[in-house]
Every structure is written in structure tokens, then in C-alpha cells.
Assembly symmetry: C2
Homo-oligomer: 587 residues x 2
């Protein structure tokens, strides 16, 4: 039994000024966590309790999956991260420091390198595999704008697991075991997840899925079809239409187009001046928009790239990052254009940098890529690479070609699922887990090989599996609260019962005291608000704020043998005979 | 039951090349830990088990002491450490880093500041006190030469507790509770500790004691008397003798002393040329040695100081550090002497920097301090501040005085205990715990005040209490091993029984399997070496190396219903009926 009269807790009436989301606001107000610096929190006893229960559920399911628990330091040397390229790739997001001897270290954002090296140290033969290892450990990421409390901190607790196998089939099996464990964990936590295909991103690898919680406040966008397709928006692949024969298509024609800086004004102008045979009006989708991007690959030079896409689409920078292998990407700046006078701003077209424009193969030295929808035979209105001139009836495959494809356009409701399972819809979600077939990238970089059945050295293949423990705690707080406070799911509630004794009658406190003991005997963890000088209103307010799912109020009615049991989630308050209450909490 | 055939473990036959001590060697060889960088280790499943058991014992005793568990980040902002002065004081031992916005952070070596600020945030009234908080958490210190494995790492796990009280009596009571908890913890671990008075060091405060484990390989020196006095050597205070009347003492006399660069040569020369009335020979203790030290206070300028002490003593640099408030101290260099031509090397005396030497009060601008034994009336042979000349019969209080006292001379067996409890002996020990009355230093620096009973704001007084968890684990490994491997005390052994099945007979494995199940049913944690293709010799070697205190060997004798039970600590191997074995492990 924990007595509130002697517990390290203080609830706040005011929201913390830096709290942007409900979980941050409530976890601070209810005395679970306290801010140390932006995105870095100290944990009070209530917070440690919830976090501990969450970790226990994860540990149990990791054991069922067959994973062994280990623990790595947060402080790691630079060299292994140098070998895998991540020392550079992580950029500013990685905390770096030097020791007194000038040696470089980092605070690990994830531990692929450390696990790989430990396994290299221990494992020599295929007989030692398969192997799954995990840890629950504090990680560090120097977020540009740490916000939203535990949802995105600079220090956070993660369960990260790694699998080690000789064969691709072994990796697939380990992946499935971890994936199943994640399903069990999220089910136990009552989380309504969606599993979506995810882009490999900077990790490099093969199969990768994210567990997302659909919610309008999610940071991630995903797409799904009624037919069962689901993917992170970065992983959505645009289906390529069949080419169209262009025999008999009208010849390309340059036309004057003053004052048409936007697709909208261009379409209006086209409808005024350009004939069309089928009687329909020109639309944005008939124009070819040419987006100029500045792409800076990891460790590389800034380069301009032009991407042509239907005028009713925009470039999606997150999708672009994936296509360009994690490069840093931004719209070209005036300074970029100044270096490339061949790019005529507002009038850029696919046949780049020529005076004569059509049929000529002049070049600006800028790579030109196309949206996958721009297949051979499609006809476009687009820039003529001459001030105040556009060109119409420009046919792909006849009048222009490209250096490659770039599937970076935005995805929207109604786009086709790539697996043919119907139109997709987009939705917002929060990432709650990630499973990932890394393949042999890390093992190759760090030399993790074992002897196979024939005595030959082979490189090990790996998987990586992560759950943000503190992030999940915040997500559960986001999902389970009302305007009075938190309402924890029973599986991770800090206590099973919050017992409140009210008034000043010692007899009431005696009844409450013995009820508390009976509840504990029935297997319930009890938080007993035994504070003698605190008003019932304050006690109720604290109880509702703290979020223990069931509150038991022992007051004047105790003389008649009754108490109230409040179910926070159901919103009910039932008068129940005290003698019957312990049975409600029996395990 | 844990099966060795499916456990993440590999034992090594060779000692790791960087291991200087037995615990480091054995914990790596037996597969408990693995080096990540100097002084930074990864934890394998066996290591986590032992560490977890140790933490559980500490948690239980902290709960009994009434302390609440919280948890702070390792990454903390600079400002609070700036406010208490520790940002500078810690020097190179503190890991420092900057975030992407250039803000300074540290990896906390201890958490006084963070706890003080959290309590300031939560506690407003004397009614909220007394309060004890603790955490078990990973700390960082950038040791110049991390060595000895877990004995002195750069990342290490610590239990640090802090107490908060309004009154000095409250602090004393909290201190006693923690001190009692430490006694219980070390007793449960079977550690034969000594509690010694400790210097406050850089922490600043009042009462402070260390729990030391006496051992010849200890890093600390302590002193104790048969009468019960015990202190860290830095905390030993030299008793001051009574002054001696100097009426009738011979007048001081300068004498030639060529080629007497050492106390030894000076004494020999004195016995050749200097008369003495009592017939005894001159000894080193009759000379006054003048040690020139360069003292650099925290944040201050390098300054020379001369300390006079009996010639049979040396300056103890650790004691000097305490006397000079944690300043950096080293012997003066030739460059220092070059700046102070008044200091005549080899002939320095207490009457400094004069030509005439005696009776004059010339000055070199260098502070002159004296050992507490050099009381008024004591007579000395010492330097005359003239090349190749010393002076004899120089009487303190008559012929020279000093700017102050510096109790920095080395302590040795036979010196008197300051409390009059008899002569002391010196011994080596390892620090296993530290309890410390910090007083109001941190609360003042960070503004931790509460309203007292009269509604007046008063500054809180604090205590700080630390146990190095990973260090204790190493110490236990140091204490409990033989040439075959570790021998854990039962309280923190990773398993209760290491069951080894030998040979290739399936019947033996079946018997072992069912014995393992029975042992588990009896409450024992069993590590079952079920590896079918490993030879008995290798299995025995692994079992002895791992250090589970009792090994059960099931082999051919199983057919007759017998097995062997090895007690690693006792060194016994008993043939016992298998049916009787579970009872040996009953809880």
C-alpha cells in the first residue's frame, strides 16, 4: 500500500507553459515527470511505476520471442559508426563529444553497431545462430525542436532488439517472431495499430514495416486501401501506366504566355488561347510542372535536379528524401538559379537550355527526371525554356525524354494502390514500433562473419526491431484522458485502486484503512489518499488527474457499510457495499 | 530454467590483454561483460542477472530507509552545475558536450543539482519534509586512466540517494537512516566493511563517512586505532603537542653545510659538526624540511607555498589537496623557482628571503606554513636561505613564525589518534559506500527554501549517499574467486544451481532434465548445461569459471540414483542421492 500522505508527488493546477500536447501537459501536472532541459525529463515515482509496467510487458514478450536481454552503454566510441557511415549520416541529430584525450564518442541514437560487434566477439559458427538480443535502454537524439514531452524527446527509453542469422530465411523467421511479439505487446496495451510498409530510409535494407497508431495528431502520413494495402507515404510506389501510342498526336507548338507564374494562371491562359480537339477544358493535370530541387547527398556536393510531374501534384519532400537516398533536399534558391542561367524561371520545360527549344538536345548540365505517370505518348503543356513562352502538345517519348524517374510527387486520396487492391486513402498516424530487415549492411561494414555448414566464412544477416518505451507511454496518455486528467489502461496503471478517504471522522479513515488492506490482500496495488487535512474536492481532483482507472471513495456512507467506486473510463460512480469491493479487484 | 545450449554466453580461455585485476579478467572471461571503449562496458545476460540482484537488495533497503525511487537523465544542462561551482570544479573528469544550438550539457557524475531542483519544484513547506529520494542510474566520469574494469569505469551504475530536511537534527536522522541501510546492504552482501571518517573534499559539508573494505589492493589509505578511531587518511587530523618553554635554549647558529642535498646527508653532517647537550645523535626528526608546492586553486592562479615539517615526514599530496580546498597541487618546478630567486633551493628555511637571515623579517612574497607539530619552543636544524648554509637551534616562536598551519605531512603507523584512543595503524581499503552531510551548500546555491512552522522561508539542509553498484559487483568478484574462476556469494549469484549433465547417454540427460525441473520447483534458479556435444572437461571448466556457488553434476552415477554436488566456496564435492538434492536448494 502506498500512502499519499507520504509519497513524493505534487500535482499542479496549471499546465506547464512549454507543453504542446495533452500527454506532456498531464504527465507533468499529475506528477509523473519533470522537465530537466528541452526534451529531457526526470522521473518521479508515479512515472517510474508506469514505465516499469510497460517495460515488464515488453520483457515478457521478448522472452516469448526467444530474445536474450543485454545492456549497452549510451556512450560509444566513434569508430564503429564511422565504419558503417552513420557517424556522418546522422548529422546534427547525433550528440557527439570528446573525452579528455580527444577521442570522439557519441551518445547512441540506436545500437546496431554495438550489437553487431558484440555478436562478432561471441559468435563464430552457424551453430551459434539464430540469435535475437534486446535491451531496454536510454537513447539520445539531438532533435532540432524537441517538443511534445515524451512523444519526441532528446533522451528517451527504447527497447531495441536485433536478430542475427546466416540465411535470408532465418532473417525472415526472426523478423516474424519480433513482428508477432509486437502484435502481442500492442494488443496487451489496447493499442489499435496498423502495420504499414515502411521505407528503409537511412538504414538500408530490405523488408521494413512500421506499427502506426491511426490518429489525426500523428506525425506520419500513411496510405491504405480497402483491399488491405497499407504503407507509409514514403514507401508508396506510384503504379506506372501503360504507354500511349502517339501516332497522329498534334505537333508541339510554342505559344506566348505572359503573366502565367502559376499552374492556375497557365491553365486559364491555355483555355483562352489553345485549341483542343476533344472539347474538354485544359486542367492542371494537363500541364507538366517542373520542380527544381537542390539535392545534397550525404557527404556529397549540392546539385540541382529538375523533376517533371503533372501540374496537379506537388513534390513531397519526405518522399523525395527517400528517392534521393536520404540526401538533404530543398527547393532551389535564387542563388542556385543564378548559377544556372539555362534554367528560365517560370518557363522551365523538359527540353532544357536551348534557344531553338524543339528537337534540339542542348543541355544545362542539370539532371532531368520524370514522375512515373509521364509515360511515353502522354502530351503536355509545359515551359518552353524561353521567357514568357510555354509549349503545348509536347509528347513524352516523341519530343522529350529524361535522365530517369523520380517518384516524389505527393500522394492523395483516390490514387491507386500499387498492389491493385483499389484506391487508397491517406491518414495520419503515430509510429509505435518498427521492424526492419537490415540485411548484411552492418555485418559487412563491421566484418561479422561465421563459419557455415561447409566451413566457409559467410556474412551474417541482421534485423532491427524498435519500440519507444517512453513514447508509447505518452501515446497511451494521449489516447486515455479526459478534461479531468489521465485514465490509464489497467495493464500499465501505476496502481489498481486509488482509495480516497474523505472528511475528518476517524471512523471513516479506519474503515478505509482496513479496506485498503483487504484490497492489497486481494492482489491490488493500492494508492491510499489518507491525507487528513486535505478537502474532498482536492482529493477527488488529484484522483481524477492521476488517472488510476478505479477510484474508491470512502466517506460518510461508510457508517452504513457503503462506498463509491468510480470507473474513470466508463464515467460511472456506483454505490457499492464495502464488503463486496475487494472481490471487484481480485486477480 | 535457463539452458546453456540456448544462452548468449561465451567463455574465453585467455585473459583479456587490458585486464589488470582479477575481477576484470574473470568477468570478461566468464561472459558477464564486454569492453566497448576504455572503462565502458556492455552487459551480457549473466552480468545483467548479477547486477539486477544487487540492485534489488539496494532497492529493498532503500525502501526500508523510507527513500522514494526517482530517475534522472544522464544528460543535464550546464546552468545548475554552474550555480554550484561544480561545472568548473570537476575539471577534466566531467564529460561535457554541446547540443545543436550550442547549449552546454554534461553527462552527470553525480546528481546533487538535479535532485535539489526537483525538490525545489515539488516541496514548499516544512510539512513536505523530511524527504529521502534515490535512484539507481548510470553515471559518467572521464577518468584519466580508466582501468581495473568495473572497479573504476567511465560509465558506471550508482545508487545515489539524497535527503532533505529543515533542521540539522533532521539531517542527522536521515543520515543515520541511510548509514543503517548501508550497514544492512553490506552485511547482506557479506562485505567486511570499516566505517571511516572522510574528508568532505570538493563536496563541502559537515559529517562524512566512507564505508571501506580493507584489502591490500585498495586504492584508499585509512588509519585506525585499537581504541575505535577510523578515518580516511585525508581526514586524519594531527594532534597538536603542547608548546615547550624556550628559556635557556641555545641561540640559533648558522653553519656551513656543503654537499647536503638530502635530509640524510644533512643529518650526517650535523652529527659531524654540531654539538648537542643531551648526548643523543641528531636525527631526521630534528630537521625542519621545507617543501615548496605550487598550488592552483579552482578557478585561481598558480601560487607557490612553502610548508615546513619535520624532516622525517613527506608531504602527502592527497592530504594537501584537502587542506588547500581541492586545489591542484604539485611540487614546485625549476620554472617556479626561477620566478622566486629568494628561494635558495636546498637551503630554504623558515626565515625567508633575507641576506642577514636571523632576526630579520624580509620576505619573498611566498606564504610560509607549518606542520602542526612545529609548536612554539621546538628547536630545528633547517635551511639558512643562503647557498651551502644551514642554521641550527632555530626555535619556533622565538626565531621564526609562520603564516599559518598546513597539516599535509604523511601519516604513519604509530602516530597518535586525534581522539586519544591510542596509536594508529595505516591500512589499504576500497571505497564501497559514502554517506555525507552536505548541509546547505547546494540548497543555497540553487535557492531551495521552504516555509517553516512560523511561515518564514528557510534553506533546506541536505545529505548525499552513494553506492557504486557496478563497482561493488567488481569488488565481490575480487573477493570471491579462485584460480578456476568466480565464486559468487549466494545473495547475488546469477543462478542458485549450475546443473551439468555429462556424457552422451540420453538417460543421463533425462535424469538431469527432471532434476532441473525439481530444483526449479523447490525455488532454485537453475542454469542447466544441456549441451550434448561438449566434453565434461569443458563443461566443468565453464561451470567453475562462471561462479554459480553450487554445481550439480549428473553423470554415469545417475543410473544408481546419485549425483555430485560441488560447493565452490568450500571446495567440497559430495556424492548425494539425487532424490535428496532438491531439499538442499529449498528456500
Amino acid at each position: 500500500m502506498t500512502r499519499l500522505s507520504n509519497y513524493f508527488l505534487k500535482t499542479l493546477r496549471e499546465d506547464p507553459s512549454d507543453a504542446e500536447v495533452a500527454s506532456h501537459r498531464l504527465l507533468v501536472r499529475a506528477g509523473y515527470i519533470r522537465r530537466q532541459s528541452p526534451g529531457v525529463f526526470g522521473w518521479m515515482p508515479l512515472g517510474l511505476r508506469v514505465k516499469g509496467k510497460l517495460e515488464e510487458i515488453i520483457r515478457e514478450e521478448m522472452a516469448t520471442a526467444g530474445a536474450h536481454e543485454v545492456h549497452f552503454p549510451a556512450l560509444l566510441p566513434r569508430e564503429p559508426y564511422e565504419a558503417t557511415g552513420r557517424w556522418d549520416e546522422y548529422g546534427e541529430t547525433m550528440f557527439r563529444l570528446q573525452d579528455r584525450h580527444g577521442a570522439d564518442h557519441l551518445l547512441a541514437p540506436t545500437h546496431e553497431e554495438a550489437f553487431t560487434l558484440m555478436v562478432k566477439d561471441i559468435v563464430t559458427s552457424y551453430k551459434d545462430l539464430p540469435l535475437q538480443l534486446f535491451q531496454i535502454q536510454d537513447k539520445y537524439r539531438d532533435e532540432a525542436r524537441p517538443r511534445a514531452g515524451l512523444l519526441r524527446g532528446r533522451e528517451f527509453t527504447m527497447k531495441d532488439a536485433y536478430s542475427f542469422d546466416v540465411t535470408d530465411e532465418g532473417l525472415a523467421a526472426a523478423y516474424q517472431k519480433q513482428r508477432d511479439a509486437y502484435e502481442r505487446i500492442f494488443t496487451r496495451l489496447g493499442l489499435d495499430y496498423v502495420i504499414v510498409s515502411a521505407d528503409a530510409g537511412a538504414m538500408g535494407g530490405s523488408r521494413s514495416e512500421e506499427f502506426l497508431l491511426p490518429t489525426p495528431i500523428g506525425e506520419d502520413t500513411f496510405v491504405r486501401s480497402a483491399g488491405g494495402y497499407a504503407a507509409n507515404v514514403e514507401a508508396y510506389v506510384t503504379p506506372v501506366p501503360d504507354p500511349i501510342p502517339f501516332d497522329g498526336a498534334p505537333a508541339a507548338a510554342v505559344f506566348d504566355s505572359p503573366n502565367t507564374p502559376t499552374i492556375e494562371t497557365l491553365v486559364a491562359h491555355a483555355n483562352a488561347v489553345l485549341p483542343r480537339t476533344d472539347g474538354r477544358a485544359w486542367e492542371a493535370a494537363d500541364t507538366l510542372k517542373n520542380v527544381v530541387l537542390a539535392v545534397t547527398p550525404i557527404g556529397g556536393e549540392r546539385e540541382l535536379v529538375v523533376v517533371g510531374m503533372p501540374g496537379d501534384r506537388d513534390a513531397d519532400m519526405k518522399r523525395a528524401e527517400v528517392v534521393f537516398g536520404g540526401a538533404d533536399i530543398e527547393p532551389a534558391t535564387p542563388a542556385d538559379f543564378a548559377k544556372h542561367p539555362g534554367l528560365v524561371r517560370g518557363y522551365i520545360g523538359p527540353v532544357l537550355g536551348t534557344e531553338a527549344v524543339l528537337g534540339s538536345e542542348g543541355t544545362t548540365g542539370v539532371r532531368y527526371l520524370l514522375d512515373p505517370r509521364v509515360v511515353s505518348g502522354t502530351s503536355w503543356i509545359t515551359g518552353a525554356n524561353i521567357e514568357e513562352k510555354h509549349v503545348a502538345y509536347l509528347v513524352a517519348g516523341r519530343d522529350f525524354s529524361a535522365d530517369g524517374v523520380a517518384d516524389i510527387a505527393s500522394v492523395r486520396d483516390g490514387d491507386p494502390a500499387p498492389d491493385g487492391s483499389g484506391p487508397i486513402e491517406t491518414a495520419r498516424g503515430m509510429e509505435i514500433g518498427h521492424v526492419f530487415q537490415l540485411g548484411r549492411k552492418y555485418a559487412e561494414a563491421l566484418g561479422l562473419k561465421v563459419l557455415d555448414e561447409n566451413g566457409k566464412l559467410v556474412t551474417v544477416t541482421m534485423g532491427s526491431y524498435g519500440i519507444g518505451v517512453t513514447r508509447i507511454m505518452a501515446i497511451l496518455a494521449e489516447l486515455h484522458h479526459d478534461d479531468r486528467g489521465l485514465i490509464w489502461p489497467a495493464a500499465i496503471a501505476p496502481f489498481d485502486a486509488h482509495l480516497v478517504a474523505t472528511g475528518k471522522d476517524p471512523a471513516v479513515y479506519e474503515v478505509a484503512e482496513s479496506l485498503a488492506a483487504e484490497l492489497e490482500a486481494a492482489g491490488a496495488d493500492v494508492l491510499f489518499d489518507d491525507r487528513p487535512k486535505v478537502s474532498p474536492g482536492v482529493k477527488f481532483g488529484d484522483a481524477e488527474l492521476l488517472g488510476v482507472p478505479r477510484i474508491v471513495v470512502v466517506g460518510r456512507d461508510a457508517a452504513e457499510g457503503f462506498a463509491e467506486v468510480w470507473d474513470r473510463a466508463a464515467g460511472t460512480k456506483d454505490r457499492i457495499a464495502i464488503a463486496e469491493i475487494p472481490a471487484l479487484f481480485g486477480s
